[in-house]
Symmetry: C3
Subunit: 161 residues, 3 copies
């Protein structure tokens, strides 16, 4: 479902609106969103991005233009998540400290990657499939693994197209 409070740019493509859950977010023009995707309140996604199936983009995340988010990518916004407060009652949004994460222009995040809260993924950086990213990633860097480490620079890969 696409909530009434979602702002969609021109030419956004969401082929299966019944199989997504978008609310309170802004999606830039030309961006494509696959099925089984949730985008939470306050998220901003730039233009011409591709958000692939099964991904979850939480409050606190900003995605710039031309970013590729693979399938099953999970963003995180809380270092020590809990279900309840000390009194044992369910946490409200106000008791939830959100870490902010930014994905710069033209970055690419491989499928099943996990992006912890509070990091910046630099422009044109590449996160390998299945990686767990807990630190900032420099522009153009290729990282992979759990925890993710730098493997190279995307500018050295002429087959990068």
């Amino acid at each position: 479902m696409i909530a009434d409070d979602v702002t969609l740019g021109e030419g956004v493509e969401i082929r299966y609106p019944d199989l997504v859950n978008l609310y309170g977010c802004t999606i830039g023009g030309g961006t494509r969103i696959g099925p089984f995707v949730e985008v939470q309140r306050g998220v901003s996604i730039g233009s011409n991005c591709k958000i692939s199936s099964h991904s979850f983009i939480c409050t606190g995340v900003t995605i710039e233009a031309a970013v590729f988010v693979g399938h099953g990518v999970m963003f995180v916004n809380d270092k020590y998540p809990r279900a309840t407060n000390e009194l044992g009652t369910p946490l409200t949004d106000k008791e939830w400290g959100v870490s902010e994460t930014t994905v710069r222009e033209s970055a690419a995040i491989g499928s099943n990657a996990t992006i912890l809260g509070g990091v910046v993924l630099g422009r044109h950086s590449v996160v390998g499939a299945g990686a767990v990213v807990s630190h900032n990633v420099s522009p153009f860097a290729i990282v992979a693994g759990s925890p993710a480490r730098v493997l190279g620079d995307i500018r050295d890969h002429h087959d990068a197209n």
Copy 2:
């Protein structure tokens, strides 16, 4: 869909009933369940838990009260899964040996974590995002990585709130 044989406690919150698949399970009062979640037959989830989007909770899993399950968390209940038996015909439920897993009160499981069958996650334990847990986790322990190893104790983190 929420099957007729699901037992829901008072105040359970499932905002998108058309985007979940729950059957034959028991959900405690005050527990919240996100979209794209499957909970299988025989699962018991305690009160005041949070089960986040894209998670899968299989037969054989017991979750106590106040547990946080992140996004994209997958529980496993078979050590050597197979599609068919020796005769090449699809396995029936009766040919499926289920390993039992217990998540104790107030534990927290990070997003994209994988919890193998037959383990106990102790009370107030914390599983890092993206971790693959193949052994028991002690109460209050923080574990992360693939395979998951102990990184610390949640009682040492004053910012844990």
Copy 3:
């Protein structure tokens, strides 16, 4: 949704057709497909397979008979994915070089595993839950970890049933 161009063999079981997204693919007889699964155009899945919930099977993947695909398994078909071409316009299918992946008969892939493009998983091979597979896997081999490494041979496990 199951698109009109999907070819289904006899006795295929898709219990929640409203919670899947299948198009342009061929599914062999007796195969079972769980909820929140996407299978893309050109994929061929053999008979008597089990494709578990939350999995994504992309263009370029061929799955033979009696294969088990766990929950949250993501296949990958592009080494350096991008959202746009050099001109900054969204990539079309024609600009997308697809790596082909084959999963041989009776292989089993654990939950939350990631299978990179261009690999062959041998017959009766076993991929551990949460593994990230970037190389071919020999027949009968058991692999696990990130990146996946060989841990043993399934023929040595008498409890493999």
